[in-house]
Subunit: 249 residues, 2 copies
Amino acid sequence: MLKKERQAYILHQVNLHNKVLSSSLSADINVSEDTIRRDLMELADEGKIIKVHGGALSHSFSQVHFPANEVYSLSQKKRIAQKAISLISNGMFILTSGGTTILEMARTLPPQLKATFISGSIAAILEYMNHPNIEVILIGDRISKNSKITVGPEAIAKIKQMKADICFLGTNAIDLNHGITDNDWEVVQLKRAMIESSQKVVCLSIAEKINTFQPIHICELSKIDMLITELPSDDPLLKPYSDAGIKVL
Amino acid sequence: MLKKERQAYILHQVNLHNKVLSSSLSADINVSEDTIRRDLMELADEGKIIKVHGGALSHSFSQVHFPANEVYSLSQKKRIAQKAISLISNGMFILTSGGTTILEMARTLPPQLKATFISGSIAAILEYMNHPNIEVILIGDRISKNSKITVGPEAIAKIKQMKADICFLGTNAIDLNHGITDNDWEVVQLKRAMIESSQKVVCLSIAEKINTFQPIHICELSKIDMLITELPSDDPLLKPYSDAGIKVL
DNA sequence: CAAATTCCCGCACAAAAACGCAGAAACACG
DNA sequence: CGTGTTTCTGCGTTTTTGTGCGGGAATTTG
């Protein structure tokens, strides 16, 4: 088994179960605990997991710990949210993924807007529920504790049988060669279904995620209609993407 | 169980109940009280809780003290929750409605319990998600804003196609003549489906709701297997119900 | 004041991590 | 192709960390 393979497996396990023990990983993959420990170290250095004595935890575990990091990019996300909202009009059916950027968008929705929002993200749903005129449809299935969204075949089937006007994706990584990528297999399945079920696909992404990639492929750039970042639309960083036929806002 | 995990659990419990006892935590997680004490120390050093003799308090508690009657009804619900939990064992599939009593039950679930909880109540789901070993299935559909649960044909269909071991219903009104009744038509539909899809139906109800009724009929008493209140099972108020063949706990 | 908890301190033991090292495999390159 | 280099992995050994236990001190409680 290759090192990268092993690390991808570990990352997947962490994202799936929120925690892993070095000992059980070692037994799973049949390598020494030392090797596991080194892998965990590397992944922790890359910021993908949190190393603790005895194993590792998913990043969502310590979300409460470090609110400072969130505040940092908040103003950027507000900017993105504003742009995204300009695409929404009354009566629309809107699919959204999860993620903090989507959350910010949900909070910023104008109160007089009448539309239907569909999502499997618990956090997003909570925000939508606070709005007076928004109809909320919740996608049901098993809840992934790591990503706080519903995942699984039921959820995917439900999404596939609808056709939304527009779909907003919180994007973890976007790159010219790799397209849209992510690090949680189950989330990827969901996002793929959402893309297929929407007439228009909009990616929300803060600039630091532009030109980065993650282990799991979601889709090619050609499936994306629009990209929204906090940067002005003529920023040189975005030029390649508008050249690729994506509308940049 | 990892140390960080344990501390996260403790922190959650403190924030939830405003106080924790070292002794009960020790029993919950199956570690020595000494270890709990060390954890409380660390959390207190980080300023997350306030350590006191015998346990710890949440930070909010020190400033605000809430009205006595609130604590009073809370203790009733805690009692009910304790009894309800005694019916749950590992590996069960459990359907639950919404309501504050169900919420209290969700908060009181012992951390080592491994079971699958199915619900359409957003608040209940949020509680279940915080538990380390519980699998959560969310029933999807339109969200009813006033009851904060998913309602509609999809939700009902989904419930009907499962068979749970046990179903806990937060009960708004129970009466010898009228059976179980409620005041929200959509919620009633859901509860009916839940009753049909469960091998055992348990009603959780605080005593003041015994012998009251609401406009919309859910089901006859005969469909109910068990009734849990904060009263002792031999309380005369409950006699008619046990006579009617309902097990009273 | 007395009994019962709870806490603190040191210790012991086990599990995990860190460290250094060495063999094996992959790689670079003339 | 051969050789030197880098990377990866596993194995002892030593350190560190986490946890439980016993006994005595401190505290709560009646």
